[in-house]
């Protein structure tokens, strides 16, 4: 029988040395076991004064009364089936099979039980619960001609319901209203259920903590060294008694020859040397080691030989072949680890597994990372499926450092709020898909994963009622290497394949509908996507850096990662360094993209983006920053290079706080100049944006001005001036208000003046109301105005728990 500390130590805590320490402890378990059983036996000795004898030699056992108590505990808390396992474990005792884990864990659980607590009862009492997390309702109106939803009503509610001790978060959101296309169009409701892992662990861990003393469970209250010694002393006392049967002279010489400490710390040859070097015994080494019967040896030697063999047997029992010193260091190591591990997620998970009575589903959920159903974001952070929104279900599991993610659902871009009123697209936007990703390590840490995506177009949905049916299969590998303080490297390789239904190529006459998975290797380079990304930091230099490169073939297509690039080579670098306790920070980034246009020539879009930004904290209350950026897009082809787009921008900003005329104030000002060329127009925009606020007693006065001018007078919205003021005050001691005046002039398009009012109040504890009204009068208005409405409101109610 062995005690197994960390029978299933979670990956996070499983470093090599700890594993080794654990194994060593397992080997010397009888000692710990002995201590546990002794303690348990002592609990009942008051009632049943008789201690059970050691029926298995060195292995301790429970006395009858304790054993019955133990069995009752197991049956009550974990049920009949577990009891059978425990009984079997008790019978087998020395067995190293898995069944003994039950016994070990349950015995330690019994040992760690707090008073008369009943975890099953606690769990039953707390099995069902419901907590309303909060809700928001809002009505917004906006009469700008370009507003997609002139009137919108939003309802958002969150709730946490616990069923059978499983907490589930419910999120419901409904955005509806009148769109500018259809008076009755509703965006509709979205909802999802997600398993709340953190709350689950907290909940279960709470039960475990209420019922068990975890320090006792990990035998931290047992001093291994002391138990070891007392065990050895007891055995040596027994041996001494035995030796008393020998003639007095010999026994007294042997009586205190080997102490308990020596038994623990000396090895067999050292113990032998003790005997040989004892002058009062005068033993011949050859005789001591001989196989001859006692009668042929001197009585001294015979006695010493008997003694030696008994001591050595004891030594073997003590260590089971392992040096006792190692036990001490192992215990120490484990103890140190427990200290850090008791409260961690992984530690909690482990304790719950061992101590809480759980059904199949509850156990499964313990290794679940996330489970979601409804309208959800797919992918769980993996590169294979990202930016995906689908209606379906997804689960990811992490157990013993093995990761598994499964998902299935339907993607339908037509339902997106941003696509409201659009009726078709040139791309398929509706798929049903299944994906799987598995491997070693969590997706957000160092890992090696393989994954697949299988997707088929759907002809349902409001977009693309004319879609050619096809099946797309993507196979992907991703690897993330942790370089410790130097950062991480992420590598990703994916290959896609598309098979149209009823299709044939070239002179092939038979139309076929193949499954894309079976022809995955088709058009290899055209459908490959490879990426390498390094990011890290150098603390000594206060420098963070990222370098990346991606390639994707012209035919690559992954419906689980909408917006993934095709025919693109993309690379870039991003550096940011600070000096002088971050008083000065300079950043640089460059992003380059070459997007192939042609399958037969070298035509491509060439995109370059550069940006340098600097920030200097001049004084505690003054920060200056500046940004210089350039973006260009050019069409490169065999015949000619085509100017596409150019933007160069320089901006300088300041943030200053201090006092002006005795009034505390803050000011943020940005001055910018931007050259923007979009053939055939060439604009040079100059802009100024300043926000000034003064604190006057309990009031705040704000003044904001934005001025933008196209020096070349070419841009449609080039010449914009907006000026706003605000004055904040309290009304009836409860309503925080801000009132302001606004003015806007867009040369040749629109001119407006108006008022703006906000109000915020706590109607009831936890219930807040906010009102926003912006109302303007058109002084000038033209047909070109799509952006500037003259009436915008927002009324929102928030009910929040915290």
């Amino acid at each position: 029988m062995q005690l197994q500390l960390y029978a299933q130590t979670p990956a996070a805590a499983q470093s090599g040395s700890i594993t080794a320490g654990r194994q060593q402890l397992m080997k010397t378990a009888p000692l710990l076991q002995h201590a546990v059983m002794d303690s348990l036996n002592a609990r009942t000795t008051a009632l049943h004064a008789v201690l059970a004898p050691d029926k298995k030699g060195a292995f301790p056992s429970l006395n009858e009364a304790t054993r019955l108590d133990f069995y009752t505990h197991v049956k009550q808390v974990y049920g009949e089936k577990q009891l059978q396992g425990v009984k079997k474990g008790y019978e087998l005792f020395n067995d190293k099979s898995r069944i003994n884990r039950y016994f070990d864990e349950k015995l330690r659980g019994f040992y760690a039980l707090k008073g008369n607590s009943n975890i099953r009862g606690l769990m039953k009492a707390g099995a069902y619960d419901n907590t309303f997390r909060g809700a928001t309702a809002a009505i917004t109106t906006d009469n700008a001609p370009g507003a997609l939803m002139p009137v919108a009503f939003t309802l958002h509610a969150e709730d946490n319901v616990v069923v059978g001790n499983i907490p589930v978060n419910i999120v419901y959101s409904n955005i509806s209203g009148r769109s500018s296309f259809d008076e009755n169009q509703l965006y509709g409701g979205l909802g999802k259920l997600s398993f709340d892992k953190e709350a689950y662990l907290e909940r279960m861990s709470g039960y475990v903590n209420k019922s068990f003393d975890l320090n006792k469970y990990f035998l931290q209250d047992i001093n291994v060294a002391a138990s070891f010694k007392s065990f050895a002393e007891k055995k040596m006392d027994g041996l001494r008694e035995e030796m008393k049967q020998l003639p007095a002279g010999y026994s007294s010489a042997l009586d205190n020859l080997v102490s308990a400490d020596q038994l623990i710390y000396l090895d067999s040859s050292q113990i032998k040397q003790l005997l040989l070097h004892n002058t009062s015994l005068n033993i011949d080494e050859r005789q001591l080691g001989s196989q001859a019967p006692d009668s042929l040896l001197s009585p001294q030697t015979a006695a010493a030989r008997t003694y030696l063999s008994k001591v050595l047997r004891l030594k073997a029992v003590l260590g089971e072949g392992m040096a006792a010193q190692q036990t001490m260091s192992a215990q120490k190591m484990v103890n140190e680890n427990i200290g850090g591990n008791l409260g961690s997620m992984a530690g909690k998970q482990q304790q719950i597994k061992a101590l809480a009575p759980m059904g199949f589903l509850q156990k499964l959920l313990l290794s679940a990372k996330s489970l979601q159903i409804g309208k959800i974001a797919g992918g769980d952070g993996s590169a294979m499926a990202k930016n995906l929104f689908m209606s379906g279900a997804q689960g990811s599991f992490l157990n013993n450092d093995k990761f598994l993610m499964l998902g299935l659902g339907n993607r339908n871009d037509a339902l997106d709020i941003k696509n409201m009123g659009l009726n078709s697209g040139v791309d398929p936007a509706s798929f049903s898909m299944q994906f799987l990703q598995m491997g070693k390590g969590d997706v957000s840490t160092a890992h090696s994963h393989a994954g697949i995506v299988n997707a088929s177009t759907r002809n349902k949905g409001e977009f693309n009622s004319q879609l050619l049916s096809r099946n797309i299969f993507v196979g992907a590998f991703s690897e993330r290497i942790d370089l410790g303080e130097y950062g991480t490297i992420a590598a990703e390789i994916a290959k896609s394949n598309t098979e149209f239904r009823n299709s044939a190529t070239g002179n092939d006459f038979a139309l076929a509908s193949k499954t894309a998975a079976f022809t995955l290797m088709n058009d290899f380079w055209q459908t490959l996507s490879v990426g390498l990304d390094y990011s890290g930091s150098i603390k000594a230099l206060d420098l963070t850096q990222r370098v990346y490169i991606n390639y994707s073939g012209l035919g690559y297509s992954n419906p689980a990662a909408p917006g993934s690039s095709r025919g693109t080579v993309r690379y870039g670098v991003n550096l940011r360094r600070s000096w002088n306790k971050r008083k000065v920070t300079i950043g640089f980034r460059a992003d380059m993209q070459d997007i192939r246009m042609s399958a037969i020539t070298d035509s491509r879009w060439k995109n370059r983006q550069f940006a340098v930004d600097a920030r200097v904290k001049v004084k505690k209350n003054l920060t200056l920053s500046s940004r210089l950026s350039q973006a260009t897009m050019k069409g490169i082809s065999q015949k000619y290079d085509q100017p596409g787009y150019l933007s160069r921008q320089l901006s300088v900003s300041s943030q200053y706080s201090g006092k002006i005329g005795g009034l505390p104030q803050t000011n943020n000002t940005t001055l910018g100049i931007q050259q923007m060329e979009l053939y055939p127009s060439r604009s040079l925009l100059v802009n100024l944006n300043t926000n000034q606020s003064f604190i006057i007693g309990t009031h705040v006065l704000t003044v904001s001005v934005l001025y933008n001018k196209d020096v070349k007078d070419q841009a449609l919205y080039g010449n914009l001036l907006t000026a706003e003021t605000g004055w904040s005050y309290m009304l009836l001691k409860r309503i925080a208000c801000t009132s302001g005046l606004t003015y806007l002039r867009n040369k040749g398009v629109v001119e407006q003046a108006g008022i703006r009012q906000t109000m915020g109040a706590e109607l009831l504890p936890r219930l807040n109301m906010n009102v926003y009204v912006d109302c303007r009068k058109h002084l000038v208005n033209t047909a070109q105005n799509y952006l500037f409405g003259n009436f915008s409101t927002q009324l929102s109610l928030h009910y929040l728990l915290n």
């Binding site: 700008a144 370009g146 939803m149 939003t154 999120v171 959800i376 974001a377 930016n387 929104f389 941003k418 659009l422 078709s424 697209g425 791309d427 398929p428 177009t457 002809n459 977009f463 009622s465 004319q466 879609l467 239904r501 009823n502 190529t505 070239g506 012209l554 035919g555 297509s557 306790k581 971050r582 980034r589 993209q593 192939r596 246009m597 399958a599 037969i600 035509s603 879009w605 995109n607 004084k619 069409g635 085509q642 787009y645 933007s647 943030q655 979009l678 055939p680 944006n689 449609l716 919205y717 606004t742 806007l744 040749g748 912006d774 952006l787 500037f788 409405g789 009436f791 915008s792 927002q794």
Partner: protein, 366 residues
């Protein structure tokens, strides 16, 4: 107001090789970009149209040959211009050519750069096929695939101070007449996935009809809130057709300097501090002192132990009130205080007692 005109680099030729009375409405610069776009063609039957027909579409690239031929299942031809019946083409027969353009098209559904001829043919639905064409029309177009729609500013995952930022992106090229942009902006709740934030949260900006690759923050809209994270995306469209969506970028409005939100430290009693050893003063010297007298100025002086030559001037005036006082002497802007140097402060309390505290000065990390 003068409308900005985009450059049109590619000549659009609508060649009328019209046959019989069936007509086709097809916009190659939009619908000719993908294999699925082809079936947004609208077919106009003659007034007398009646009966089942099939549509045969052939796309040929001048440099490479036939790219693809697609034949739809039978459908009923009706008078007037009509879209194809919904779901018709999901069962169409597709034959791809044997060239590189066709290979890419077979994998991605996109037509790459080439001079294309798109031919539409309507023939009666007869078993075994019919050579009797009811109508045929071909469209020529020099196709240049779209550039990706790339966002520019505010940069992805950037922190900005402006609560009414102007949004910039790179235009979708080549320009297509009538193309406009939409921009959506929502907040991101802590821990919320990007894809969910864009759909679950109320849009703060959801604007269409944008013709330039930029948008001023709508002046009438409520300004963004300090400390919150926001997400935005741009969509290019023409009429009711989605052309391209940008990546999804986020940014955070963070105007207040991080030093302002420093963790409040506790104020230890001056007697404790005076009794102890060196204490660490980060940016400011903080202590608690009790006074039983009325309001009075706190008399104190500081000398530098590391460099006794250092003269310490311009110390702020502190006033003590009756009762408990939490004193914080901000010296972060005082040049006499040097990171890592030791100092000694002598305080004369109102009751005449003198306390001395020694401290090491540490400048704050911003």
């Amino acid at each position: 107001m003068r409308r900005l005109i985009y450059g049109i680099f590619v000549l659009l030729l609508l060649q009328g090789k019209v046959h019989a009375q069936v007509s086709f409405a097809f916009i190659p610069e939009v619908q000719g970009r993908t294999i699925d776009g082809l079936f947004q063609v609208r077919v106009g039957g003659p007034a007398s149209a009646n009966g089942m027909v099939v549509l045969n579409v052939t796309v040929t690239a001048r440099q490479a040959g036939t790219v693809v031929t697609i034949k739809t299942p039978p459908f009923s031809l009706r008078p007037g211009l009509n879209p194809l019946p919904p779901g018709l083409v999901s069962a169409a027969d597709i034959r791809f050519g044997n060239n590189k353009i066709a290979d890419v098209c077979r994998q991605s559904g996109y037509f790459t750069e080439a001079e294309y001829e798109y031919c539409f043919e309507i023939s009666p639905a007869v078993k075994g096929g019919s050579t009797d064409l009811m109508g045929e029309q071909c469209f020529d177009y020099m196709l240049q695939p779209f550039s990706p729609l790339i966002l520019a500013s505010p940069a992805d995952e950037d922190a900005i101070c402006d609560k009414r930022p102007t949004f910039f992106w790179q235009p979708l090229l080549p320009a297509v007449p009538g193309m406009q942009y939409r921009l959506i902006l929502t907040d991101v709740k802590p821990g919320q996935a990007r894809a969910e934030a864009l759909r679950y949260n109320m849009p703060l900006i959801n604007q269409q009809f944008i013709s330039m690759p930029m948008l001023f923050f709508p002046p009438a809209a409520k300004e963004l809130a300090e400390g919150k994270e926001y997400i935005w995306q741009v969509t290019a469209y023409r009429g009711d057709v989605l052309l391209s969506s940008s990546e999804v970028w986020t940014f955070r409005v963070q105007c207040k300097d991080s030093t302002e939100s420093r963790i409040p430290e506790s104020f230890r009693d001056i007697d404790d501090l005076a009794a102890g050893n060196f204490y660490l003063a980060t940016g400011s010297i903080r202590f608690a002192v009790k006074s039983i007298y009325g309001e009075t100025p706190l008399q104190y002086s500081i000398i530098c132990l590391t460099d006794p030559q250092q003269k310490i001037k311009k110390l702020p005036a502190i006033r003590l009130k009756s009762g408990n006082n939490h004193i914080s002497i901000d010296v972060s802007e005082n040049r006499a205080f040097i990171d890592g140097y030791y100092y000694q402060m002598t305080v004369k309390l109102p009751d005449g007692n003198i306390r001395q505290l020694r401290f090491m000065y540490k400048s704050e990390t911003i």
